[in-house]
């Protein structure tokens, strides 16, 4: 369990190293860096500085950063700087902040956790559709956009169900259920950063 936790914690490193090596400090590289910082902070707060305490507010902050990072990625690579999309992302971010402040300041914003992956899945499907419509002759395995979309799509698709039952898992007293839930989430998390690493290995489209 501890090994899986550490693996999940250091999983953004591969993407960061690849981005560093090929000088591709893109938006997703910064997202990976923030992921690593947040995981490190969470680990330090929960296990070193304040053992046993929950760090839910930090989690909510990362959800907001993730929304902005993915939103900006879709804005640039899928919607080709469409203003309406940018406004939609900004509106969703504002709604998320207000909702969190009003309802879920000291607990996970479960509504956002479930709703946002659906949005990411939708945007990824639109991105795949755009790739299929593209007339450019380009091998997909060498496309940054494609791998980034795959990373977000797989993460969103996997995390959607994980988050859907999160409230019940939190209330569940059985420890083994929590362990398996955490293991599944960790695997999806590692997979996300590995795929983002592959994306950062490719040249920017």
């Amino acid at each position: 369990m501890e090994t899986l936790r550490i693996l999940s914690w250091v999983s953004p490193l591969l993407a960061l190293v690849l981005g560093w090596k090929y000088r591709r400090f893109s938006l997703l590289w910064n997202y990976c860096l923030l992921g690593l910082i947040f995981d490190t902070l969470t680990y330090c707060i929960r296990f070193v500085w304040f053992p046993g305490e929950q760090v839910i507010t930090l989690g909510n902050l990362f959800i907001l950063i993730e929304l902005l990072a993915f939103g900006l990625f879709f804005y640039r690579y899928v919607f080709h700087r469409n203003r309406l999309f940018a406004l939609s992302v900004a509106a969703v971010a504002v709604i998320f902040v207000v909702h969190t402040l009003l309802n879920a300041l000291f607990k996970f914003n479960l509504t956002a956790l479930v709703v946002l992956p659906i949005g990411y899945i939708g945007c990824c499907l639109l991105g795949f559709n755009a790739i299929l419509k593209e007339q450019k002759i380009q091998r997909l395995e060498r496309s940054f956009t494609f791998w980034a979309l795959v990373a977000i799509f797989i993460f969103a698709a996997g995390a959607f169900f994980v988050y859907l039952v999160l409230s019940q898992i939190i209330d569940n007293k059985a420890q083994d259920v929590k362990v398996i839930w955490f293991s599944i989430f960790t695997c999806i998390n590692i997979l996300r950063y590995l795929l983002l690493g592959i994306a950062l290995y490719q040249k920017n489209d």
């Binding site: 002759i137 997909l140 169900f161 039952v165």
Partner: protein, 261 residues
């Protein structure tokens, strides 16, 4: 079903669905790319065929003009020469007759040379190397420019029609070197390489590097260079222009594959 089963089944279902969509995108895009490449290949083929047809019709026309020059004008001039040699003149007339005979000989030779350049019959009869030697001789006889051809150690064997394209390319290159580069000395050589032949042309005129060649090629006009490029495309050959700063000589390298698809 308990929570755990729901999570496991749900996550698995979502991941399988995601993988399915990604696999579909990859396979579909691969198919689209294959189709696009096929279309591109067909377009290239059509373009190549059109180019060949254009050059073929040009060759046919050259042949016709060469035949007219050789068989009609050449024959007429030969008859005129025969008549002139039967005229007996004395005194001042004799000197004029001699000049007329010399001029006629020169004209007959010029007509022959033009005819030969237009339709190198020697190419069909004796092959590329002999034709190139003969071509070099024509320039050497004209005086002024020295063209030296160094044949390949092994016999040059090119596909049918390719030898004529190469011959025409060399003709055009030599003409360009003399006309635009003001060269006085040109060395042409052929050497055999693995799977290809390397044609090397070294001259003392003002040459150009590859970047200038590409830039001139893009300019409006420059028909000669475009013809060279078209012929090289048919031959699937590569051309490289170099300027040797050391001995102030320029070099043109043409790499011709032995087999063409």
């Amino acid at each position: 079903m308990d929570n755990l089963t729901v999570v496991l089944v749900g996550v698995l279902a979502m991941l399988i669905m995601a993988m399915g969509i990604i696999a579909f995108v990859i396979l579909y895009k691969r198919r689209v790319i294959e189709n696009q490449l096929e279309i591109e290949r067909i377009n290239n083929q059509v373009e190549q065929d059109m180019l060949k047809a254009t050059l073929l019709s040009e060759e046919t026309e050259r042949k016709r003009i060469a035949a007219e020059l050789h068989d009609d004008i050449g024959a007429t001039l030969a008859s005129v020469k025969l008549y002139l040699y039967h005229i007996k003149a004395d005194g001042a007339q004799e000197e004029r007759l001699k000049s007329a005979k010399d001029l006629l000989d020169q004209t007959i030779q010029n007509v022959r040379n033009i005819s030969h350049k237009l339709q190198p019959t020697i190419l069909d009869q004796l092959g590329l190397e002999k034709a190139l030697s003969s071509y070099a001789n024509i320039w050497n006889q004209s005086g002024g420019v020295r063209v030296n051809y160094q044949p390949c150690a092994a016999a040059v064997v090119l596909p049918k029609g390719a030898d004529l394209q190469l011959y025409r390319t060399i003709q055009e290159l030599v003409t360009n070197i003399i006309r635009h580069g003001q060269a006085q000395h040109i060395d042409i050589s052929m050497e055999e390489q693995t799977g290809s032949y390397l044609l090397r042309m070294l001259h003392d005129g003002s040459g150009m590097d590859q970047a200038s060649y590409m830039s001139n090629l893009r300019k409006e006009g420059s028909t000669g260079l475009k013809n060279i490029q078209n012929r090289l495309r048919i031959l699937q050959a590569d051309i490289q222009h170099n300027i040797c700063l050391k001995d102030k000589k320029s070099e043109i390298l043409v790499k011709i594959p032995r087999k063409m698809p």
